[in-house]
């Protein structure tokens, strides 16, 4: 690779940093002021592109410069209006809710917007017209660069400058900066917070919409844009430091450049091995994030966030001391277990019951292991699927390459997951809150991309096929019973540990790290081991899953699965011990039925989640407890 080639790739990186910067800046701005981590921010970006395609096409397409640019701007503004509407209708109700609920609500919103887009624009990718006057190419360093890309390189610093002036010079900017530091103090000074929040949300949405609208001449509008851009934008915001606009720009550049250079370098011979750097692009941004977070836990330009006082109280309010199961509950638990044991007898009448049963049980173990670190440990992992996937692949690869018997493969699943969890957990427990969530997500993505790209070993996107259980478990009923047994033991063990000194030490570290350290508890180590334990149990679920399905693909490690886990835990109620079991069951059944009933199951699921978040903020079990006024029951 020549120097010119590398420099050209670097310029290309600048162009792709541009849109990413717009989205990330909006996300960061909104987080700084409202403290909402808005997962639906990527939806506004996607809407920006779709609206721009429609408007620009309607206003004359590629032939009309005025039509093109006014269409792009109008799309950004419409995204802003939609953002403001979302803030007024939904987010305003959840500002004092615990952080995780806000995440869940905005995730639901993302699902709904995605299906609304599907309904309005259809499933096909839509190609927009090229930008008038910028459809050609200019020659740089002996290569052709699309003029539009050159334009994008210029436009991002221009917007950054504009934002800087707004924040440094205007009253609105001063208010935003003040709110970022201490929004309650600002409220005490008599500033209308509701109006400020709406305005900030609208501005952030305009930026996202603009980022999307500018993409109109670069890539076709498609329904995967929201998730892919929000993941990238999160990485950028976390690397730059939450709440810092300049940080967003620097991080967007950094990541885009690293990616571009990976492509530019290509295959390099290294100590006898051929290392293909271009394969690193999928994982590059997450590697950058992991490195930055380990070195600077609050990102490049970030500072430790002042806790929002109201929210902290809301969170503390939720959890009562844990009690051993009452007689009634223990009997109820036994009854449920007994009923599940008898389920195979209903197989003739409901042949689907056992398949669903296995799915639900796997979900239960997955959710229970996530809850273990998320609830009592206070560590919201956004990448729990990594350990599920490590378990599943650990078992499947053993079968594929060494023809291991099922028993050995199932035993290897938790070992593989435990190794991963020990490694990733060691770094993750050094952070907290959103940063921890993002680092766990980064690790999960790294695992995903390794599995996805290491085709020779893992089968790449095709996955591993033909992982069938051996006799007598090749009969569904027998496999169901095995699953039931393993899951019951797993859940019971986790519960037992929560009541033991280790579980208490975990909660002690969550409740008050200061106090815990002062009485001699090594909080990081306790949380690290808890993380590893949760990963191990999750790996068991993954192993069971592999043999239940007969084949696995990188989907087992996807972000979607991690998010599913979060939804299950929050649905049941993170502050209760039985919550994740109920949440996982409800979610798994719901997903199954809703998926069959409608093409818009995402939206329906989102709607259900929203209702739950707004009506039952402490989860299903929490709501039940409140209803029965017997909080000590479970």
């Amino acid at each position: 690779m020549t120097f010119e080639g590398l420099a050209f790739q670097a310029l290309d990186g600048l162009a792709s940093a541009s849109s990413l910067f717009f989205v990330a800046a909006g996300l960061s701005l909104i987080f700084g002021v409202t403290r909402i981590v808005n997962l639906a921010h990527g939806s506004l970006y996607m809407l920006g592109t779709y609206i721009a395609v429609t408007l620009v096409t309607a206003m004359g397409g590629a032939g009309d410069a005025f039509g093109f640019w006014s269409g792009v701007l109008a799309a950004a503004l419409i995204a802003g209006v939609i953002g403001a509407a979302i803030e007024v209708v939904l987010l305003r109700r959840i500002y004092v809710a615990p952080e995780l609920f806000q995440l869940l609500a905005t995730f639901a919103l993302m699902l709904i917007v995605n299906d609304a887009t599907l309904w309005l624009w259809g499933p096909e990718d839509l190609l927009g017209p090229r930008a008038p006057g910028l459809s050609g190419a200019i020659e740089i360093l002996g290569r052709e660069m699309p003029s539009y890309d050159a334009f994008l390189i210029v436009v991002a610093p221009a917007v950054l400058g504009l934002l800087y002036v707004v924040f440094a010079r205007t009253r609105f900017g001063a208010l935003v900066r003040a709110a970022t530091q201490d929004r309650e103090m600002l409220g005490a000074l008599g500033v209308n917070q509701a109006l400020l929040f709406t305005a900030v949300f609208a501005l952030g949405s305009v930026l996202a919409g603009l980022g999307g609208a500018l993409q109109v001449a670069r890539e076709p509008a498609n329904l995967g844009m929201d998730l892919s851009v929000i993941t990238d934008a999160f990485v950028v915001v976390v690397v730059g430091g939450m709440g810092s606009i300049v940080g967003s720009y620097v991080a967007a550049l950094l990541i885009a450049e690293v990616k571009a250079l990976c492509i530019g370098i290509g295959v390099v011979g290294f100590a006898g091995f051929a290392v293909n750097f271009s394969k690193l692009t999928l994982v590059a941004e997450f590697l950058v994030m992991a490195i930055v977070l380990i070195a600077r836990p609050h990102g490049l330009f970030g500072r430790a966030q002042v806790a929002v006082r109201g929210a902290a109280e809301a969170e503390a309010e939720m959890e009562a001391p844990i009690r051993p199961a009452s007689r009634a509950l223990a009997l109820f638990g036994l009854a449920v277990f007994g009923a599940l044991l008898l389920l195979p007898f209903s197989a003739r009448a409901f042949p689907y019951a056992l398949v669903l049963g296995v799915d639900v049980l796997i979900a239960v173990l997955f959710a229970a292991s996530l809850h273990f670190i998320m609830g009592p440990g206070g560590m919201a992992s956004f990448g729990h699927a990594a350990y599920f996937g490590l378990g599943a692949y650990g078992a499947a690869l053993l079968v594929k390459w060494f023809a291991a018997p099922m028993g050995l493969a199932l035993a290897a699943a938790p070992v593989a997951a435990a190794l991963g969890a020990l490694l990733f957990g060691w770094f993750s427990v050094r952070l907290s809150g959103v940063y921890l969530a993002m680092l766990t997500l980064a690790f999960a993505q790294i695992v995903w991309s390794i599995v996805f790209q290491w085709q020779e070993v893992t089968g790449g996107s095709n996955g591993v096929l033909g992982i069938w259980p051996s006799a007598p478990f090749d009969r569904l009923a027998a496999y169901y019973l095995l699953t039931l047994l393993v899951v019951a033991v797993g859940v019971w063990l986790l519960r037992r540990i929560l009541f033991a000194p280790f579980g208490y030490a975990m909660r002690a570290g969550r409740d008050s790290p200061l106090r815990a350290e002062a009485i001699g508890i090594d909080v990081k180590r306790v949380h690290w081991l808890a993380f590893a334990l949760a990963g191990t149990v999750c790996g068991v679920a993954g192993g069971i899953f592999a043999f239940a399905k007969g084949s696995i693909s990188p989907e087992t490690i996807s972000i979607g699965r991690s998010i599913d886990g979060l939804v299950m835990v929050l649905l049941g109620g993170v502050g209760t011990l039985s919550g994740p079991l109920v949440g996982a069951s409800v979610f798994a059944v719901l997903q199954d039925f809703v998926m069959q009933e409608t093409e818009y199951w995402h939206a329906l699921l989102g709607g259900i989640i929203l209702v739950l978040v707004l009506a039952f903020p402490s989860g299903l079990v929490g709501a039940f407890l409140r209803l029965t006024r017997r909080r000590r029951f479970l």
Partner: protein, 256 residues
């Protein structure tokens, strides 16, 4: 020598010398008050002793070992317990479980995975709670308690580690006058019966002069007086600092 010996301790934040060459000692069974106006460097001094901050220079010796800059959990193992300015307890546990947790940690049993935690050291925890007058609330969630009661629970937690030295950062902050006197009287009684040394910072002068065996006074990072109540009260430099009319207040620069 069994007590705490602080020698030539210094810590700067940028250009500000928050703690400037401070030396003093606390003997076993002594109730020592550290006072001074806001910004005198009391909290910094405290955080240097308890390991939250690492000193730029000087040493903190306890039981013959230099503990300056050790992490809090190591310092606690040396026999130093502490209470916080804003009481820190485990909100999701009951009062008794809070103390049991401290006992479990003290006995190095936190990695046990099987037996129920609330069956560990229950009797011992109840005894400690009785000593601070909180045994009747033993099974209530800690988050439901009034603030004054939380402070008592915190004291019981601190005692669980069988400390030889107790560091109390503004133990009575946020309490009503009667609660204050009661809490300090309780601490004083504990000192007498257990031979614990206590170093505390305090803003309420009536509490300090009524109970402390000895008082050390800080101003602008320096130690300006060390003695019993009468000596300190009559010290002209202390009067100057507290009435704010003297030369010291006119000097440029301020201490954190």
């Amino acid at each position: 020598m069994n007590g705490l010996i602080v020698s030539s301790l210094s810590k700067s934040f940028g250009a500000v010398r928050a703690v400037d060459n401070v030396s003093f000692s606390v003997d076993g069974g002594e109730f020592l008050a550290l006072i001074g106006p806001n910004g005198a460097g009391k909290s910094t001094c405290f955080n240097l002793i308890n390991g939250q901050l690492v000193p730029d220079a000087g040493s903190v010796r306890f039981g013959g070992r230099d503990i300056a800059g050790s992490p809090a959990r190591k310092i606690c193992r040396c026999g130093i317990a502490r209470t916080f300015q804003i009481a820190a307890t485990f909100a999701s546990m009951t009062v008794a479980e809070n103390v049991q947790m401290a006992l479990i940690a003290h006995e190095r049993e936190i990695y046990r995975l099987w037996r129920r935690a609330n069956s560990f050291h229950r009797q011992h925890a109840l005894e400690l709670l009785r000593r601070v007058g909180m045994h009747e609330a033993a099974d209530r969630p800690c988050r439901e308690l009034a603030y004054g009661d939380v402070k008592r629970v915190e004291l019981a937690i601190a005692l669980a580690g069988e400390p030889r030295l107790l560091l109390m950062d503004e133990p009575t902050a946020g309490m009503a006058p009667r609660e204050r006197r009661e809490l300090i009287a309780l601490v004083k009684a504990l000192i007498v019966e257990r031979g614990i040394a206590v170093l505390f910072t305090e803003h309420s002068m009536d509490v300090v002069f009524a109970f402390a065996d000895r008082i050390i006074v800080m101003a602008r990072g320096r130690l300006i007086a060390d003695g019993d109540a009468r000596t300190v009260r009559n010290d002209p430099r202390v009067q100057q600092v507290y009435f704010g009319t003297g030369r010291i207040a006119e000097r440029s620069g301020s201490a954190a």
